[in-house]
């Protein structure tokens, strides 16, 4: 085993560029491990833990670039380091070609140079992000703060200031929003329309907005708040401000609220505001108290799909119960499909393995499974008694969120980098007790541009393993996206169907099919 690293002083690159360079290096034959990272204290700790922090790298600063590779062959190591430098050089050139003639170095400079600028997207490292967001707010800009690891105290300070100045403060850890039709960060290309969304959950917003669009409805605005907004400390500041803004917005006829269960005090505030607003408000609070919403005059939904269908019914002036007909037909189809699948599954296959890249989709799936079976283990369990002891290994019924911190340190999010989930799919396929593999696939800007190329070889390898062992294993997947997304949902679904993946209309439908299969097996 050979280890070599270099420091490039004063070379600053953003985290996605670095992670993609790391990924390219690890794909080279002979490379055991690689890291292309900035020399921050946290990154040096990661290197130290992987025994890759060479003594000459210890003095590196935040603005120094570190390239470290571990190989099985000394001959190629210099070539590989050169390749990393070349990759970064290319990305720098690409950036320079696309950059404007004048490129401000600060938010203050940008506001002075660009008349009428009104929104800042901030995605720098968490320890700097809060200060940059405050600078943007103080310069009168609305903010979308993508970065995570911003202290909660700072979040509260930012949101209180924004509320006082009547500005949007979306995030920290806000992955997606659609403002005036602009898909910000990880968002999909959806129809314009009269349905407004406030969401404290990124993939929840994506799933709801995509289903609305598919069903012929459209989005006026989709405001993200970041997941912590509805917790006790932040008190729902931006969630409430978002609802108020949509209530006043002339283009918005129906409002949809998407969140994991809010803190009970925040829920009270949401109920109070629902009571005051004269527009229909549909809520999907994934396991939250639906009675409080109903009593306030809101319309609680059970799944993200249901929330989207109700909103479209109202938007189109149809009977609000119309969606029930669609869902009932779907449920019947799902039950029949489950029966057919069970016939092909061998005795002894009994467990679900759900491998998710979207956190809210993982939660929704667990909630739907809870109706059929009680013991589903997870790294983010609904019931804390079912916390996985080792997140790297599934146990009995397991549904995991691969977008959680334990899986993403030093690696891009699983919506971008499929390698970790692909490896896990093969592990699950090899387990003879597994009866269903359940996946999500999230398309849109920011996500992997060629998900079919990432998934296809793995599905084919999975089938080879299963053929050899004379076993059938359904792989069920729902695709969150639209046909107008850069990846094209229709095209991706067609490709996956061709290799035998069972494609369902929504995450709720995919989860219901999976839970039906497990339930029938359990009853046999």
């Amino acid at each position: 085993m050979f280890l070599k690293g270099i420091i490039k002083s004063g070379e600053y690159f953003d985290s996605i560029t670095l992670m993609l360079a790391t990924k390219s290096l690890t794909e080279i034959k002979g490379v055991l491990e690689a890291a292309v990272i900035m020399g921050t204290k946290e990154n040096k700790e990661i290197l130290k833990a992987s025994k890759m922090l060479l003594p000459e790298l210890e003095s590196a600063k935040d603005t120094d670039l570190l390239i470290v590779v571990k190989t099985d062959n000394e001959k190629n190591i210099n070539k590989i380091l050169k390749k990393a430098e070349k990759l970064l050089e290319e990305s720098k050139h690409k950036k320079e070609e696309n950059i404007d003639e004048y490129c401000p170095k600060s938010i203050e400079g940008a506001v002075k140079q660009i008349p009428g600028v009104n929104l800042a997207i901030i995605s720098v490292a968490g320890k700097y992000a809060g200060d940059e967001a405050m600078k943007a707010l103080k310069n009168g800009l609305h903010v979308m703060l993508f970065s995570d690891n911003v202290p909660i105290k700072k979040e509260i300070e930012l949101k209180k200031y924004a509320r006082e100045k009547e500005l949007l403060m979306m995030g920290p850890d806000c992955g997606t929003a659609i403002i005036n039709g602009a898909p910000l960060c990880f968002a999909n290309v959806v129809n314009k329309g009269d349905i407004g969304i406030v969401a404290a959950s990124g993939t929840g917003l994506q799933e709801v907005s995509c289903i609305i669009s598919k069903e012929g409805g459209g989005i006026s605005q989709a405001i993200g708040t970041g997941g912590r907004d509805v917790k006790k400390n932040v008190g729902g500041i931006m969630f409430i401000e978002g609802i108020k803004a949509l209530a006043e917005d002339k283009e918005t006829k129906v409002i949809v609220l998407v969140s994991k269960p809010p803190h009970k005090e925040v829920l009270k505030k949401i109920a109070v505001i629902i009571e005051k607003i004269n527009k229909p408000i549909v809520t999907i609070l994934l396991g939250g108290d639906s009675e409080a919403i109903k009593n306030a005059g809101g319309i609680p939904a059970k799944t993200l799909e249901e929330a989207a269908l109700i909103a479209v019914s109202i938007s189109k002036g149809k009977n609000i119960d119309d969606f029930k007909k669609i869902l009932k037909e779907n449920e019947k189809e799902i039950e029949n499909l489950a029966k057919e699948e069970v016939k092909k599954i061998k005795k002894g296959q009994k467990y679900i393995r759900g491998l998710f890249s979207g956190g809210t989709l993982c939660d929704e799936s667990q909630l739907l499974f809870k109706e059929a079976i009680s013991d589903v283990y997870s790294n983010t369990p609904i019931n804390p008694d079912f916390k996985l002891k080792d997140v790297w290994k599934s146990y009995k019924h397991t549904i995991i969120d691969l977008g959680e911190d334990e899986f993403t340190v030093g690696r891009p999010h699983p919506m971008i980098d499929f390698s970790l989930r692909n490896k896990r799919i093969l592990e699950e396929v090899k387990d003879p007790e597994v009866a269903v593999i359940l996946l999500d696939l999230v398309l849109g800007y920011g996500s992997n541009k060629n998900p079919d190329k990432e998934l296809l070889p793995i599905i084919k390898r999975a089938h080879k393993i299963l053929e050899k062992e004379e076993r059938y294993l359904p792989i069920i997947c729902s695709v969150t996206g639209t046909d107008k997304d850069p990846q094209n949902k229709k095209k991706i679904e067609k490709i996956l169907k061709k290799v035998g993946v069972i494609i369902m209309k929504s995450n709720a439908a995919a989860s219901k099919l999976s839970s039906n299969i497990i339930k029938i097996i359990g009853e046999e």
Partner: protein
């Protein structure tokens, strides 16, 4: 500018951080200006803390 007023205006966006967010928005035909951001004080936390104290005093 109040939030509801933003909804009626043309968006003019600045992007601080991941360059791919600018590229995606431009692909969707929105104009975005990149801020050529680098960690303040060269990423030296001690210098940064000292600067913050000076600015706040």
């Amino acid at each position: 500018m109040a939030i509801k007023d933003l909804f009626e205006k043309e968006l003019k966006i600045i992007n601080i951080g991941l360059f791919s967010f600018k590229e995606s928005l431009e692909e969707a035909n929105f104009k975005v200006f990149q801020v050529n951001w680098e960690p303040p004080a060269g990423g030296d936390e001690e210098v940064l803390d000292a600067l913050k104290k000076l600015l706040n005093s």
